[in-house]
């Protein structure tokens, strides 16, 4: 049987890949997908703790986090569409209206 450490290590590595994705990409949609990847990594560690403790609460938490992630994706993509309509680009280095 697999130790819980492996699940947590996988979760940490996926989270790190998400962080690097957020930092190096310029396309707003890919940045957004990297954020989804980080959410998934955290879900994995919640779920592994839930299973290894034999406690259902972690899974309920993951369920709610999925619902919040869905809401976040909907609103975020709407914002990206609105930005694209004004700027004709989703390159975050060109969205500098509020930057000084």
């Amino acid at each position: 049987m697999i130790e819980i450490d492996w699940y947590l290590a996988l979760s940490a590595i996926l989270f790190t890949v998400g962080i690097i994705g957020v930092l190096i990409r310029k396309n707003a949609i890919v940045i957004f997908m990297s954020v989804e990847l980080m959410l998934n990594a955290v879900n994995l560690s919640l779920l592994s703790f839930s299973s290894y403790h034999g406690n259902i609460d972690g899974q309920i938490f993951v369920f709610f986090s999925l619902a919040v992630a869905a809401a976040e994706a909907v609103v975020g993509l709407a914002i990206i569409i609105a930005i694209f309509r004004n700027n004709l680009s989703v390159d975050v280095s060109k969205i500098n209206l509020l930057r000084w």
Binding site: I2, E3, L10, A12, G18, I24, D57, I60, F63
Partner: protein, 173 residues
Amino acid sequence: MVTYVFIFLALLALGAAVGMVVSKNTVNSALFLVLNMVALAGIYLILEAQFLAVIQVLVYAGAIMVLFLFVIMLLNLDAEESLFNKFRVKYFIAFLLGITVLSQILYSLGNISDMLPEISPEMAQVGTVEAVGDVLFTEYLLPFELTGILLTAAVVGALLIAQHNVKSAPKND
């Protein structure tokens, strides 16, 4: 056997995540993310969380990623220039920051590794639809209903933000 399946799925998830970050075509990124989520659903199955594995495929790989693909097609983006055409200091710093975060997490995990839980005997009965639903509709009923309100608010907000209002708000660029 389970160990090999876990290693396979973990490598698949990892490779798909890296592919998502480095591929220059946005559609490819989205498809890599779908692959990553399906692999994670397999890992959820190993963890005996059947309900969440199905939800992961239905909601994430199904609904959310279709939404992403729709937006990508709608915006009709050009492929970004490749990340590795020239070396940039920015990438190096980002990579360094990522390694720092990873080593912090792994260090703190190593410190508590003797306190981590062993495999629980009731692990097998925990993740069924029956068990999840039982808790969800009794103990967590109020948060569940609040989730419904949150999703409604998100849909209404998305409609408001994304709709094209021709009359008001003249373009100021």
